[in-house]
């Protein structure tokens, strides 16, 4: 499997994503610079975490209008799987790859900690190696992860089963107390309708190595390899 990682000047999880991908696939990903308007043939595109252009107007707003994103959106339209992590999720919503928007955390503070996530489905290339209903532990690190969509959009997302992960307690209960940022319906990760684009605030690449305190993120990478190789 050949992956590409999009690199904006303020990306700062690009290396972490590249390391996790190289570890999983045995081959370093292609690094796509934000000014590139063409990409080589790849099986997966990762939009990593960070602060793409400083996140100064709105998180991800300017990045979504960059040359490389025009190509990413085109590839997504042709079915290339896109994994958009943290700032990448913000970029993906701003680019229209996913519905809704990520607003300032409800308590207004940046939050970096492990959270529990309930896996909603294993019928996707991203989550095949998880079990539906499985509770996994993955870190978050963001100030703007508060998922918002209007009522009609939200109803449609739920009806189509587009929610990938929900914040939950250690026992899997989806509660307000387990919601770290105020996201509607505890949404931590979201698919597009075709389930070929996944946006998620948690960082699977940060817990894919037991030395770092856990490896629940690893199954996402093995799922992708199994599906795309």
């Amino acid at each position: 499997m050949q992956a590409a990682v999009v690199v904006f000047p303020g990306s700062n999880c690009d290396r972490d994503a590249a390391v996790a991908l190289a570890e999983a696939t045995g081959r370093p990903p292609y690094l796509a610079w934000h000014r590139d308007s063409a990409l080589p043939a790849v099986d997966l595109i990762v939009i990593p975490g960070g602060f793409a252009y400083g996140d100064y107007l709105r998180a991800g707003a300017m990045a979504a209008r960059s040359p490389v994103m025009r190509e990413v959106v085109a590839r997504a339209g042709r079915g290339t799987p896109i994994l958009a992590i943290c700032n990448g999720f913000q970029v993906a919503t701003e680019a229209g790859l996913l519905p809704g928007v990520l607003m300032r955390n409800a308590d207004l503070r940046f939050v970096c900690r492990d959270v529990h996530l309930k896996v909603e489905s294993d019928k996707t290339p991203f989550t095949a190696h998880y079990r539906p209903g499985q509770v996994i532990r993955i870190p978050i690190a963001h100030a703007e992860g508060n998922y918002f969509a209007d009522a009609a959009t939200l109803a449609e997302i739920e009806a189509r089963g587009q929610v990938a992960f929900r914040y939950c307690a250690a026992d899997g209960a989806v509660t307000a107390a387990a919601n770290p940022n105020g996201s509607q319906h505890n949404i931590a990760g979201l698919f597009n309708r075709a389930r070929t684009v996944l946006g998620m605030m948690p960082h699977p690449e940060r817990l894919a190595d037991p030395l770092l305190g856990g490896s629940d993120g690893k199954a996402m990478f093995t799922s992708l390899i199994a599906a795309l190789s």
Partner: protein, 742 residues
């Protein structure tokens, strides 16, 4: 301040620039004429306490700075140590106290930006940040606002640049009501053969400016950082700089990319006193002159004067000397990262700093006399009188230890600081293998099995009571914290925060702390490789407690042979390493439970410290123990409770019979909460306990069995049983509740 057509240099103007009449006379002598305003401004910042270390330099020389693994000691932007395999670590800690008091978010943020630049200017990629924060009393009206702003500022900057903030400390005391301390540390990783220094060289070589444009930010910030506060200081707000972490990130990437080539001769960040100190430092270190055309300096505002350009403290800027003909190659890299790049001058053989604007010379100063001949003061000092021994018999020590333990765990200094460090991205770069909240943070050296252990330490109340003992204790505790995770302590950076050195009693604290540090550094083979001095931390004549903050770095050869404080499973034997004398003077128990700040601090026995620490570290390296915690604030029971909390497992212990026999000498509360130094708590499998105790005895290391891990409660036999959940509620509750108040 704007430059008038031909401003007259009156004694008032000289005084407003913080120069004493003697210093001004010296300037006249060096120059052989009266300086113009630009030149006076340059003298003023170059000779400020902040840039010249004029009050402390004599004493800083006392600190040991060498060891076989030290590549570069104090004097450069940051210190450098060898970690083997052709790799080196560059690190430094620096204060941003005054700016953070005036504008906490921007003050703290730009503090982080500044210390990052000190490290990447030498070629290292920053891999970890730490911070040591001292605030006033929690009930003081400004404390909550300052704490919230400082933490948000540190997070806002560090999170954006993508360097994990992995550790630090945060304590409170009324002496910081009017002067908080914000000390930030950056640790970077570099290949040994890719280190960059600041000495300019090569007559005719281009001098290049990169980074943000220059505005009228923070003009005279370096002078502000060297003057006492008074009631009007909050009016000085416009001199505080604003940070742009996104530009810093671009600057890091662009500089590191250029550093992969051999185009750079010398590089220096523009910190306090901006273009002035960076250009003088480069010229002075290289023994050359520099001519700058200030019209070429990228400016953010129109009609800036030479004075303003030279003294601006706009952030995210660097100065470089390139090899001739390499400008285009360098410019292309900075263009890629969308960062300003401008050739603003060249290296000369004149030994002078010549500044031109609109074709005219606006300043012409000799480099060497200004930098090297900056004033050095041998200020009078008065030693801090020793505190009388505490008479334990006179203390109303309650034998009821449970409530005291809960109260200590919930007191501001010991309460969990999760509310703070959760606002810092401490995991970015995916190498953080011990997160904040332990004895030391541990970050893996990327792509290797090695790891760095990092900590910041100081106990200001000890330093106030006895600067010597406090200075030694700060170094020893840093050494112990690195040891507790299994690392070999390598070197320290110091950030010395004191009041007004013109007062002999403050100078006495500075001298005493340095002497104590020196002894500990020598005894523990733990040299000082970089540092910073912040003086005049006082308001209306009330100084802060002396804080010789220590930032320390240690090395783990194999990051799988590492210890952490959390109890990992039930049924482990708990052993106490080190001697317990029940020292309560200056303890948190005395202050928080009995409301008294009295007595001398605990003595530091450096020989015992080293013996006990070396023994513990060797046991971790052999894989015998993976659970270890140093004993510090709050003593034995607080340490044990922290181990229970970190692991989510209880423990049952009893006071050793040997101690009970001498119970008359050590009251229960002193045994439980005394802050004797050089101690550790370790947990190990039952079947290893006997041989461990035997080898401790053979090594002359005091070790005693206390009990076992297990269950959901912490029990001290014959005294109390408290659930781990209740301990956790006490420990975790205070800070979020405090910060939630309006």
């Amino acid at each position: 301040m704007r430059e008038a057509a031909a401003p007259e240099i009156t004694p008032e103007v000289v005084a407003a620039h913080g120069l004493s009449p003697e210093e001004y006379a010296r300037a006249l002598q060096i120059l052989g004429r009266e300086p113009n305003l630009t030149e006076l401004g340059i003298f003023s910042v170059m000779w400020s306490e902040h840039c010249s270390y004029k009050s402390s330099r004599k004493w800083l020389k006392r600190l040991p700075t060498t060891a076989p693994w030290v590549i570069c000691g104090p004097g450069e932007n940051a210190g450098i140590i060898d970690i083997g395999d052709g790799q080196a670590v560059i690190f430094k800690m620096e204060s941003h106290n005054h700016p953070s008091f005036i504008e906490p978010y921007q003050g703290a943020a730009t503090g982080v930006g500044g210390i990052l630049r000190d490290v990447f200017t030498m070629g290292a990629r920053p891999i970890a940040n730490l911070n040591a924060l001292r605030f006033g009393a929690p009930e003081h009206s400004k404390t909550r606002h300052l704490l919230a702003g400082v933490v948000a500022g540190i997070g806002g900057y560090g999170n954006c640049v993508g360097v994990p903030t992995v550790g630090g400390e945060c304590t409170f005391h009324p002496s910081f009501n009017g002067n908080i301390l914000v000390n930030a540390m950056t640790v970077g990783l570099v290949a040994r053969d890719r280190i960059f220094y600041s000495a300019a060289a090569g007559i005719g070589n281009p001098v290049v400016y990169v980074g943000s444009k220059t505005g009228r930010d923070g003009i005279h910030g370096a002078t502000m950082a060297s003057a006492e506060f008074d009631e009007r200081s909050e009016e000085k707000r416009p001199t505080v700089q604003v940070g742009d972490p996104f530009t810093e990130k671009l600057l890091i990437e662009a500089c590191l990319e250029l550093m992969k080539t051999d185009a750079i001769v010398a590089i220096q960040d523009m910190g306090a006193a901006g273009l002035t100190s960076s250009s003088f430092e480069m010229a002075s270190k290289g023994g050359v002159g520099i001519e700058l055309d200030l019209d070429c300096v990228p400016a953010r505002e129109s009609a800036m004067s030479a004075y303003e350009i030279m003294l601006s403290e706009s952030q995210e800027r660097m100065l470089m000397v390139l090899k001739p003909g390499r400008e285009a190659e360098a410019a292309a890299i900075f263009e890629k990262w969308e960062v300003d790049f401008a050739v603003i001058g060249h290296v000369t053989d004149s030994g002078r700093m010549v500044l031109k604007m609109a074709g005219a010379t606006v300043a012409d100063l000799p480099v060497a006399p200004l930098s090297a001949a900056a004033p050095v003061y041998d200020r009078p000092f008065q030693a801090t009188p020793p505190r009388p021994e505490l008479d334990c018999a006179s203390l109303a020590l309650s034998p009821d230890l449970g409530p005291a333990l809960l109260a200590l765990l919930a007191c501001p200094d010991l309460a969990a600081k999760r509310w703070i460090w959760q606002q810092y991205d401490h995991m970015v770069m995916a190498d953080t293998i011990q997160r904040p909240g332990g004895d030391a943070a541990v970050v893996r050296v990327h792509g290797t099995e090695k790891a760095l252990a990092l900590t910041t330490d100081c106990t200001p109340r000890y330093c106030a009571a006895s600067p010597e003992a406090g200075g030694a204790q700060a170094v020893a505790e840093a050494w112990r914290n690195l040891t507790a995770v299994g690392a070999r302590p390598l070197a320290i950076t110091d950030c010395l925060n004191f009041g007004n050195p013109e007062r002999p009693e403050i100078m006495g604290q500075l001298v005493g702390c340095i002497e104590g540090m020196r002894e500990a550094c020598l005894a523990l083979d733990f040299p000082v490789v970089s540092g910073n001095v912040s003086l005049y931390n006082e308001t209306n004549g009330k100084a802060v407690q002396p804080v010789p903050g220590i930032g320390a770095v240690g090395l783990l050869a194999d990051c799988r042979r590492m210890a952490s404080l959390g109890l990992k499973q039930p049924g482990m034997r708990l052993l106490l390493i080190g001697d317990t004398a029940g020292h309560l003077g200056q303890s948190l128990y005395l202050r928080e439970i009995l409301g008294r700040e009295e007595g001398p601090p605990p003595p530091v026995n450096l020989a015992a410290e080293r013996r006990n620490g070396d023994f513990v570290r060797a046991a971790i390296a052999r894989g015998e123990i993976d659970t270890c915690h140093d004993l510090a604030d709050g003593g034995l029971l607080v340490a044990l409770a922290e181990m229970c909390l970190a692991g989510g497992i209880g423990a049952r212990i009893a006071r050793p019979a040997a101690d009970q026999a001498s119970a008359a000498a050590i009251p229960a509360a002193a045994w439980a909460f005394g802050e004797d130094q050089g101690r550790y708590l370790v947990a190990l499998p039952e079947d290893l306990a006997a041989s461990f105790l035997a080898s401790a005895a053979a090594a002359g290391v005091p070790a005693a069995s206390l009990g076992r891990s297990g269950g959901e409660d912490l029990t001290l036999e014959g005294s109390f049983t408290i659930s781990v959940a209740e301990l956790g509620a006490a420990n975790e509750g205070w800070l979020p509740a405090y910060m939630a108040q309006p």
